[in-house]
């Protein structure tokens, strides 16, 4: 996701790009330093309220372009999976070439849609919030926290019968495991991580496995580096401790 958002950031005049869902949950963001996660979360809350009203005015909306005195805000519907709609937002100053940006945003939205659809397919239990967030956003710094929108779907993920096959996994995943124990360990990591980040946990685990195992099938010998990799990405210290403890308890 970072790479997709970065392509938008590379456009002249773009100051921030973010993806959020219809519950206001920020899925990923890139931007100049002033557009930090906290600000983007605030903005996505206001934009979700606007989009809820847009739906009343025009149910089939695809794009919203807002022209301000000092810049522009462009929104594009990415897709709707797991009962939630994902929205791509691009913030730009007055120097943005709107025509050029429109094409780039369309391309980016298409890539994000494929990403989300892949994520959705990897949660057979359904009802979860699919998506692939920036690993740098992993954590529970969302104001929604444990009681936020994600919490509704966490039990679904926990009971979704996650499996990590020996050959290949479902949907987005290209993760291979060496044996059943390694598969069970990945499932345990995913469920533990879901407590901190919600249903997107499986995607984060897949990314971490790719970083740790590279092209090789994941084996239990890689468990410690994988655990460290995942833990290091959880911003909240308490959540990080809880994650480690939960995985260790299952061993």
């Amino acid at each position: 996701m970072d790479a997709i958002l970065q392509t938008l950031m590379d456009l002249g005049g773009v100051t921030a790009a973010m993806v959020f869902d219809s519950t206001g949950q920020l899925i990923g963001h890139r931007g100049h330093s002033i557009y930090d996660r906290s600000l983007c979360e605030q903005v996505s809350g206001a934009l979700v309220r606007a989009i809820d009203a847009v739906q009343l005015q025009q149910e089939d909306w695809e794009t919203v372009t807002a022209q301000f005195q000092d810049g522009r805000l462009l929104l594009r519907k990415v897709g709707a999976t797991g009962g939630r709609t994902q929205i791509l937002a691009v913030v730009a100053d007055g120097s943005l070439n709107t025509s050029f940006a429109t094409v780039a945003i369309r391309v980016a939205a298409g890539k994000l849609r494929r990403l989300f659809e892949g994520g959705s397919a990897s949660s057979p239990g359904g009802g979860s919030s699919p998506g692939l967030g920036s690993s740098s956003h992993l954590g529970s710094s969302s104001p929604a926290g444990q009681s936020g929108p994600l919490s509704d779907s966490r039990p679904v993920l926990a009971n979704s019968g996650l499996s990590w096959s020996k050959t290949s996994n479902i949907g987005l995943s290209r993760v291979q495991v060496a044996d059943a124990a390694a598969g069970a360990f990945l499932s345990r990591c995913t469920k533990a991580l879901a407590n901190a980040v919600g249903p997107i946990a499986k995607v984060y685990v897949e990314e971490a496995v790719r970083r740790v195992a590279l092209e090789a099938p994941f084996a239990m010998s890689m468990a410690v580096p994988l655990l460290d990799d995942l833990a290091n990405q959880i911003e909240d210290v308490d959540d990080r401790k809880l994650f480690k403890a939960t995985v260790a308890k299952g061993q």
């Binding site: 921030a16 002033i34 557009y35 600000l39 605030q42 903005v43 206001a46 934009l47 309220r49 606007a50 009203a53 847009v54 009343l56 005015q57 025009q58 149910e59 089939d60 909306w61 695809e62 794009t63 919203v64 372009t65 807002a66 022209q67 301000f68 005195q69 000092d70 810049g71 522009r72 805000l73 913030v91």
Partner: protein, 107 residues
């Protein structure tokens, strides 16, 4: 004062509603439920304005919504909100250009 009749004469403008940022309704042309449209677009304008303030983008001037079958332009001028329904959606840019030359609704 916004000249709604002039806006409604722009090619591909299906309807036009005049309201304000609080959702108040003043007038409509070729729109049967102007009260609802004014209320919804007032709320949309206020919410997007709020996001713009948070992002430091200044005052909101215009919002355009586009879908597969139709489009809508919301022009904000002070506290006044004009909602312009456009069909087909591909003609939004042409309507926006026409609005730029229409006094009182530049947004």
């Amino acid at each position: 004062m916004t000249d709604l009749a002039r806006i409604a004469k722009i090619p591909n403008v299906a309807s036009a509603v005049l309201g304000d940022l609080t959702g108040g309704f003043y007038d409509a042309i070729r729109e049967g439920d102007g009260e609802s449209v004014a209320a919804v677009t007032g709320f949309i304008s206020t919410s997007i304005s709020q996001a713009g303030e948070q992002l430091g983008l200044g005052a909101l001037g215009r919002v355009s919504l586009a879908g597969a079958t139709r489009a809508c332009i919301i022009a904000i001028d002070g506290g006044t909100v004009v909602t312009i329904s456009v069909a087909p959606p591909g003609s939004v840019l042409a309507v926006e250009r026409a609005l730029d030359t229409t006094p009182g609704v530049r947004g």
